[in-house]
Symmetry: C2
């Protein structure tokens, strides 16, 4: 078959800190071997995509044109991004689409005409060449929208529970817990009988999570937050937290509350309790610094948590078990909800950019490239 | 033999936040079994003792009397110390002295008249009952002063190198590196051929460490600190730091410099380099919050590090190997230096309290209780 041409979205950072995001035509050669060509039908904008797409560029005051935007990146961010300088980078971790061309390998040919989901990067495009072996075929009747977010959020939520178990904790805390990912985690923990403390930032989010069956939901905007959090931690025995926010004092306050629970009734030690309190920061909804008061003894850890290294460490058997569970629960446990559906061109218009870049909990956008 | 009476130092926190430190007579019964009674001859004031002795109490404005002081503890600190409320706590982790009475067990009797070092707590006292099996006999001719600090600093410095190796790093960074502990670490790393980056806070400290043979010394007060640090990290390949300071931005700046080195020449990843950068906070010379900019990707960890849990995890064989090395190097590699020698009564006088509580690097005080 002949070459296929379509639009793709590219993000390019220039030496002077000007970030250009634009639509550009891309021509795909005929696939060979295990390659297949996808007609991309739906790709979500996850917080993890925004770092590459826009970073901390000033989109408020950017220049918006037909099919492009140019925004200034802060000097500090530019210094941290030296290695992407002047490289047009495709964006979009994951998505779903239909296989319209395939290489000669049987695994590739078997996918022709099938709707699949995958996480190859560069999915903000009309067409994408991917490896057939990295694709998951969607269940019969599943829409591209249902399959678009089958990887990042579901595997991350499952990864939290796996990490909790592997490190010997028996309950966990999650922040920004009203997110799509947070809602999945509520369902997973209910299915697995794992106690979960959900930390959210408004009464509306409390109601939302209670509605889907969450037992422990605490609102960090409430006056009694500290007491409610300590009570939930005492109730569940949670000593590990997964934090999507990153900046500010929340992680520190949660560790301090864990320490308060751990040392209640114990004899005094100047070094704090012997209970290990662990925080994993997996997101950066707040880009400001993490402030740790260290009012929680010496038995604590705070670390970055990222899906890819976690999966590499977990091993093939664990990953396959996790993927099978996602496949089985695609339209139930792992269903995603979207605030809006946009085209590739919409993704570069001011109002839409400001909306999806606000990273509001539970307001995820979906790109429909075709 | 009859009972022995001597003075001991006690620290008591009252409900209203008033901290009283005072001298009180203590009567020790005749030792039995494995017990021995030490006449304490020298006990250092380590930063780890100050937390229990004074914490963050306002010693500047305290009331000082003959053999006591009363200082106000900040409300936040009082809340964190509920479990020590109204309990008179003995202080002083480690020290050296001569065995003047022993129980019937052969291990105890064998120590009679010997000068030993140990880490039982409560060593700010004229006499102390300890377990003979936890004592280390000092080499012939060694003074109590030479043996007083044979545990906390030497085992901590050795513990850093053990931790570095166990976690797969090949070089390390140490902050407040001009301390007694830091000087031991310089000698250990030279003996073991482990590359070490020393971070200090003044040109005088640079000179001091160079004098004892340190190769990499960077001064955080110098204008070129960031560049000098990055160069030293590139030179050594250090990806783990042990930090005595705790508060402020230093840990964050060191992790960022490690990331800068790790990602130099690598292809861009929005998640940062895959190199794990680890910081352990083992002290609190600065009690203010730890500020993490998170400008170092997602492959990082910051955690508390404490000697006792480390030794428990390391296992008996490792601990015995470490102790033997300390014994062999007591007057060379592991020699301590003191700014001043004080009596138990001096330890409660205003000028002396302000001096030792200033926690100035390299200005350690030694209590001579008899």
């Amino acid at each position: 078959m002949s070459d296929i041409t379509g639009l793709q979205l590219l993000s390019t950072l220039a030496q002077d800190g000007r970030l250009t995001v634009s639509l550009a035509p891309q021509t795909l050669p005929a696939p060979t071997g295990h390659e297949v060509v996808l007609r991309v039908e739906a790709a979500p904008i996850n917080p993890s995509d925004l770092g590459l797409l826009l970073g901390s560029a000033d989109v408020e005051n950017a220049e918006y044109g037909d099919g492009y935007l140019v925004a200034q990146m802060p000097a500090a961010a530019v210094r941290a991004m030296v290695s992407r300088m002047n490289m047009p980078l495709p964006v979009g971790n994951e998505g779903a689409g239909t296989v319209i061309a395939a290489g000669d390998a049987p695994e590739a040919k078997a996918l022709l005409g099938k709707r699949v989901t995958c996480v190859p990067g560069g999915m903000y495009a009309q067409y994408r060449m991917v490896d057939a072996r990295a694709c998951m075929v969607l269940p019969d009747g599943a829409t591209a929208e249902q399959g678009a977010s089958a990887f990042v959020n579901p595997m991350t939520a499952l990864g939290f529970v796996e990490t909790m178990r592997a490190e010997g904790h028996k309950a966990l805390v999650h922040t920004a817990a009203a997110s799509n990912l947070g809602q999945m985690l509520v369902k997973i923990c209910r299915e697995d009988d794992v106690p979960l403390v959900n930390v959210v930032r408004s009464p509306g989010q409390v109601a939302l999570l209670r509605q889907i069956g969450a037992s422990h939901v605490v609102d960090s905007s409430a006056e009694d937050f500290a007491d409610a959090l300590a009570a939930a931690l005492a109730d569940t025995g949670a000593t590990i937290v997964f934090d999507a926010i990153g900046g500010g004092t929340l992680v520190s306050r949660i560790l301090a509350a864990m320490e308060q629970v751990a040392s209640a009734g114990a004899s005094y030690s100047r070094y704090g309790s012997a209970t290990l309190k662990q925080a994993y920061i997996y997101g950066a909804l707040d880009l400001s610094p993490t402030i740790l008061s260290r009012s929680f003894g010496f038995s604590w850890g705070v670390a970055g948590w990222l899906l890819t290294p976690f999966l590499a460490k977990a091993g093939a058997a664990t990953v396959e078990r996790m993927r099978a569970r996602v496949r089985d629960g695609l339209t139930t446990t792992f269903a995603s909800h979207y605030k809006g559906r946009i085209s590739l061109r919409d993704a570069l218009s001011r109002n839409v950019v400001l909306a999806y870049n606000a990273r509001r909990t539970g307001e995820k956008y979906l790109i429909l490239p075709n």
